[in-house]
Each structure stands twice: as structure tokens, then as C-alpha cells.
Symmetry: none
Subunit: 208 residues, 4 copies
DNA sequence: GTATAATCGAGACGGTACGTCCTGTCTTCGA
DNA sequence: TCGAAGACAGGACGTACCGTCTCGATTATAC
């Protein structure tokens, strides 16, 4: 009789009873739909129906369409992403290492399996700060940290000026890459990222 | 090509009879709503009702919510944007000029009046290629072209290596800026853009 | 800008623009569904879909499923119902007239086309006072009034005791009829209503 | 017919192990909810939660919401209802006895504790034949039988015409009562039932 | 006095329908 | 002819319940 209700807590359900089967089906449906019809035309209702799942099962575990997709994408990418996987190469040649990683990133961003979901998530994150934060923390940051670490190693090895801030330097490489990819200014090629690495390492000043 | 089109093209109606009053009201309503409730919760119906305008008046002149907002934003920004206005400074000191322009860009992107609409448009453009193309052409490219021109001038003046591609070099400056702004990785400050300019001009290599 | 909103008025839409086509389609769909699957399994969504109509078109004009059905039923019955149509016979023989009308009522209540909707409406009205009031006013009362009038005429003609209350007397006939029909106590036959008329007219006391 | 049913009948489970505590809690919750929020807004889930009981415990023992409520109401009413309790008075004065019992019925139907559940059950029974049959058998018929018996006694005592059918005569009293109560045509008062008794006993014909 | 099996509270699940909001089209009427 | 207004068919939203199901954790006979 006595209802011990304090306030309307968000109230996470009991995750130990969660249906693994449904979770995976939802991931798959979400990724497929985004790829097939695009993010805007992907609906929760559509995901539920394609996954053979009640809508409530989605609303029970995720707060939004973006959250579903983010998790689905993380699940897809985790065992594959270099950041979560192999790590950053350190052959002793900074230039070559940077070029190799950036080329790999170009390939990944260009892969039709990844392009749709990634764009969707990026867009959602740009507008919605919460999604953005999670996108950043879960997907982007791990990758950026590897650049930073490689650059620090390079500084110790005398390959890079010890005065520079490795984090800012990281963005000198990644910024142009994402710029071209997100805004579709010009084609995103290996040649482009190679140049970026060269320019960033040696500067734009006239070379004596 | 054929001027005498007979098929029932759903062409723009007679724009000479268009109500200037309504157009401006729509611009204002669209920008206000995006700022107040965000892009996703801004609806055509809402814009129409706030502008005191029939829905059809919007559908008659614009193909989508994004198009309305883009035009509204262009209208807002045109007389103000350095790219569309003053032009790029050329004091003979490339480093100082780049720093100044990037600082101005930071201020603009940070201005609460611009932030909402710009983010919304960028996000829409990331997902929808058509919107993206128009966003690029009308808003972004004019600005980028000024960078390119300034860099070419710098090359002729011996301030920059003649071997570099000015367009790619441009992205070395703008990429990190947009990266930090779009993805909210870290605060976007004047100090940050100053460093970007320095790193890009002098390179990351150890300086003798 | 100034929103002249006082309170959240229910706000009747402009009924002059109402689609006659949709209204009739909704009536038909509602009646069909109630007959086919019963009231409880008749849904607004089902009515809308069968009528080829948006749900909102129903919600715009009716407050509830019961209201739709009531109106649909009234529309069906108006040109047919004796109460709304021919009127009550007055042959000068009260007993015969009452028997005839009650037999007609029995036939109507037994008609499979009417039974479903009428039961549904009666049930809805029993629980929901608003529906009940409208059901009473629009469907029942007109019929009851005819009984009352006939009984008054009978009183003037010396066929009935002038001391009795015609309204209460009316219920002496109609009450048992509805009782048997609503509660399905025993079969509702012409013989039954004949007896009711006889008992009510001549009383249950031993007849000298 | 075949006693040795082998198919997996979804029979009632072992009722000897049934939790009395839960049963009573469910009764109480069901009656309270119907009174508080009405039949339509009373849900199985709501009953379960208010009774502090698992949903399955309800589904295990009852086939429907109406069945729960019917049983709950029977449990409430059994020790009180004249039909199930005291029986029908026989003072030798038929008119007085009928008036007394009908007045008691009016009081009961008017009692706020009973009104909600009874209306709900009646409505459910009107639409759903199964519920109706049980409602009739368990709640209504026992009462009606007492009327019939009293009328038979009256016939033997010479208080009533031996030619009349006691069952039909019963409905002459009960019909108008339920009519007014169910359909809310006019207020249900002691005066009204007194008149009904008088009219039915002495007839509507001119007395003279 | 334990086994052992059914019932219990709880609540996740696949679904259906709710009532609301918006979309993009269409129609009406006033300027 | 355009504009304000808004009804229309339709689709999706996020919520509430349905009836089924699966979990331990009690019980309460039957061994």
C-alpha cells in the first residue's frame, strides 16, 4: 500500500534479464536500415519491426534513435577499429607511420558499410550535445589518444619538436581529414592525407 | 535548355508577386526557433505558425526545412561575414593575417546567435548530400577561397613554399578549427588557433 | 508574436470544410467493425484504416470511440426508427397499439444489423455518464416520449386511469423489454411483450 | 464427454496451494480501482501492482478483468445481499413486501460502494455474452427467483391472479427499476418503485 | 525434516492501440 | 494569383497494457 516513491527516477530495468537475442537483432536492424534508407528515414518503429521486437524493448534500453545506432556501431566496430585493436604503429619513422594510419582511416571512412552510420552519428552529435559527448568519448577519443601517444614518443626520439602540444598537433592531422569527409569539400584520397602529413611535419614556410 | 517547357513542371511560381513581408517573417521565425528549441524540434508547421504564414507559403518557395534555414542564415550573415564582406587582410605578414582571421572565425562560431543555425546546417549537410552541397557552395567555399588566395599571394611574396598546394594548406588551418567546433573535443580558443597557425607554418619537426 | 491564447479551448474545427466523404466512410466502417468483431475489438485505428482516413480526422471530430459509434448509429437509424419516423399508432385501442409497438421494438432489437451497435452503445452509456446522456437524449427519449403521449391520449379517452403518471407507466412497458434484452435473462419474444402489456394494463391482482 | 482427457488442458492449477492472501488483496485492489478510476481505466497490471502481486497470479486464476471483478464483487456482496442473505419477506401483504424489497434494492444500487462495480459488470455482461451469463446466474437470478417464489405464494394466498406467469410478473417490477438505474433516465427513488408496485398490481385501466 | 514441486513477486518480452504531432498536398476564401 | 488558414491521408512518435514467458525466492504438502 505504502508507495515508496521518491521522485520519478529514470529507473534502469534489470539488465541481467535482458534478452541478448533482441539486443543483437536490434543492432543489426539499425545498421541495416541506416545503410539502406539513411538516418532520417530510419525510425524506431522500423528498427523494432525489422528486428522482430516490440518497440518498448528499444525504449526500455535506449533513450533515443541515436543512442541505439551509436551502440550498434560500437558493437560493429570494436573488434576492428585500429584504435580498439592493433594500436598505432611505431616503426621509428613518424612520417611513414602517420601516413599509414591516415590512409587506413580514409579507407575506413570510405567503406560503404561504415559511412552511413558514422555520418549519421556525427550529425546527431553535432546537434545533440549528449550524443556528441558519447560519440566523442566512445568512438573518437580512443583514436585521438593514440596519435597523441605516438607524437610524444616522436618527441622523445627527437623526431618532433619537444615544444609542441601533442594534442593540438594531433588535430593538425585529423582535422583536415574529418573536414573533407564531413563536409565533402573535395575527394578524400590517400594522396591528400599524405600531403597533409608532409605539410604538417615540414611546415608551409619556404624550405631552405 | 528548351525555354518553352510544356510539361507541368512544379516550377517556382511567379516570384515577382512574392510577399517580401512573409519571406522575412519566415527567416526570422526559422532562426528563432532553431535557436530556441533546436533544429530537430523546429518544424515547418511551427515556422509557419510563428511567422503568421500559411504552410503552403513555405512549401511553395522552399523544398525542405534545411533549405529554409540555409537561406535564412545566409540572409542573416551576408552583410557581416568577413568572407562575404571585408575580405582577407594582407598586411604582408602571413602569420599575423592567418591568426587574425582564425580568431575572427572562432568568435563567429562561438556567437550564440550563429551557433545554433550553423550547427544545424552542418549536421543536415553531413547527412543529406544536397543540403551539404549548397551549404558548402554558399557558405563555406567563399571563405575557403579567400584563404587560398592569400596563400597564393604569400607564395609569390616568398612567405610560403611555392611547392605546396594552397587548397590543401587551407584545410590545414580550417580543418582543426571545424574539427574542434563540430565535435566539441576541446574548447575553441584564440590560443588554439594561434598554435595551429604556428605549427602549420613552421612544422612539427625539431627546429634547429 | 503576441499569442492570444486564453485557455486551452477544445477548439472545434471549421465544420464547413468538413469532408462529407470521410464522415460517411467512418460511419460505415464503424458500424461494420462493431458488427464483425464486436465493440471491444473495434479500434479507432481500425475504423480509420478501414475508412481510408487518417486517425486525426476521427479525433478531430469525435471525442471517443463511443461518440463515433453513436453518431454512426443515429445516422443509420434516423430515417427508419418508428420514433423518428412514423410515430405511435392511435387506433383507439390502447392495448393493441401498445402490443404492436412493442412487437416492432422486439424485432428491431433482434435485428442483427442493430443488435451489435445498440448493445455496444448501451454498455458504453452505462459506464460513461456522458455517453449515456447522449444515448438517452438522442436515441431513447424520443421513443419514450411517444409512449407518454399515447398514454395521455388514452387517459383523455378514458382508456387509462387519469391518476397514473404516464412517464412511469411508460417504463412499465419499456423496462421489462430492455431488461430482457440487455441482460439476456430469457428470450425476447412477441408473446412476452404481449403479456407485459396485459399485466400492466389489467394488473396482477385477482380479477373478479 | 470423454472423462479421460489426455490433451494438455490448461486447467486451473492446484488450488489447494493457492495464496489466500493474494486472492483477497486482488479483490480489494480490483474493487478500489473500479470505484476510483472506473472500469475502463482499471487494468490487470494496475490491479496486480496495487495488490502487490505478480500479473501471472491474476492470469493464473481468472480469464479476464471482468471475471476478477465479478468474483470480487460476489465476495463483497454475498454476506449482505438480501437474495443471498435474509430472503424475501412474506408478511401476507404482497404490496407492502414488494415495496420494501424494491426500496432496499434502490438503496443498494445507489450505494456508492456498489454502484461502480455493478455498472461495470452489467456493461461488461451486455457486450460479452459469457460474462453476462455468469453475471446473470451468480448475481441476478438468485434475486429474481425470490420474487417469483413470493408471487407464487401470493397466488396461492389469493393475493394475485393465478393466471399470470410469476416470472414475467417479476420482470414487471424489476425491469423498470433496472431501466432507470442502468440508463439513468430519471432519478431512482423510493417513490418511483412504490408507484411501480401499485401500477403493476392494480393495472393502468380506469379503476372504478 | 527434509525434498520437491508448484505458486509467488517481479518484470522483460512481442505485440496492439492509444492519442499527439508533423508531413506534404489540397481546397477555400479574402485581398 | 498569391497568401492565411487549415482539413486531409498518412506515418511515426513515445506510452500504456495485453497476455506469455522466465526468473529466483518462498511455501507447503508428500516423502
Amino acid at each position: 500500500m505504502a508507495e515508496t516513491e521518491t521522485t520519478t527516477e529514470p529507473r534502469h530495468p534489470d539488465s541481467s534479464r535482458r534478452s541478448e537475442r533482441s539486443r543483437r537483432a536490434i543492432y543489426e536492424a539499425a545498421l541495416d536500415l541506416v545503410t539502406e534508407v539513411g538516418y532520417a528515414r530510419t525510425t524506431i518503429e522500423g528498427i523494432a519491426s525489422r528486428a522482430g521486437v516490440g518497440k518498448q524493448t528499444i525504449y526500455r534500453w535506449w533513450p533515443s534513435k541515436a543512442a541505439v545506432l551509436l551502440e550498434a556501431f560500437l558493437d560493429l566496430v570494436t573488434p576492428v577499429d585500429p584504435a580498439h585493436g592493433a594500436g598505432f604503429p611505431d616503426t621509428g619513422d613518424l612520417e611513414a607511420d602517420l601516413k599509414a594510419v591516415l590512409r587506413a582511416s580514409v579507407d575506413e571512412l570510405t567503406d560503404p558499410r561504415y559511412e552511413g552510420p558514422t555520418r549519421a552519428l556525427a550529425a546527431a552529435g553535432i546537434v545533440d550535445e549528449t550524443v556528441g559527448a558519447e560519440f566523442l568519448e566512445k568512438l573518437l577519443d580512443p583514436g585521438l589518444r593514440l596519435y597523441t601517444e605516438r607524437l610524444e614518443a616522436a618527441q622523445e626520439a627527437g623526431e618532433a619538436d619537444p615544444g609542441i602540444d601533442p594534442r593540438i598537433a594531433t588535430e593538425l592531422f585529423v582535422g583536415p581529414l574529418l573536414h573533407r569527409w564531413l563536409l565533402r569539400t573535395l575527394p578524400l584520397t590517400h594522396d591528400y592525407t599524405d600531403r597533409i602529413v608532409e605539410y604538417a611535419l615540414y611546415g608551409l614556410r619556404p624550405r631552405g
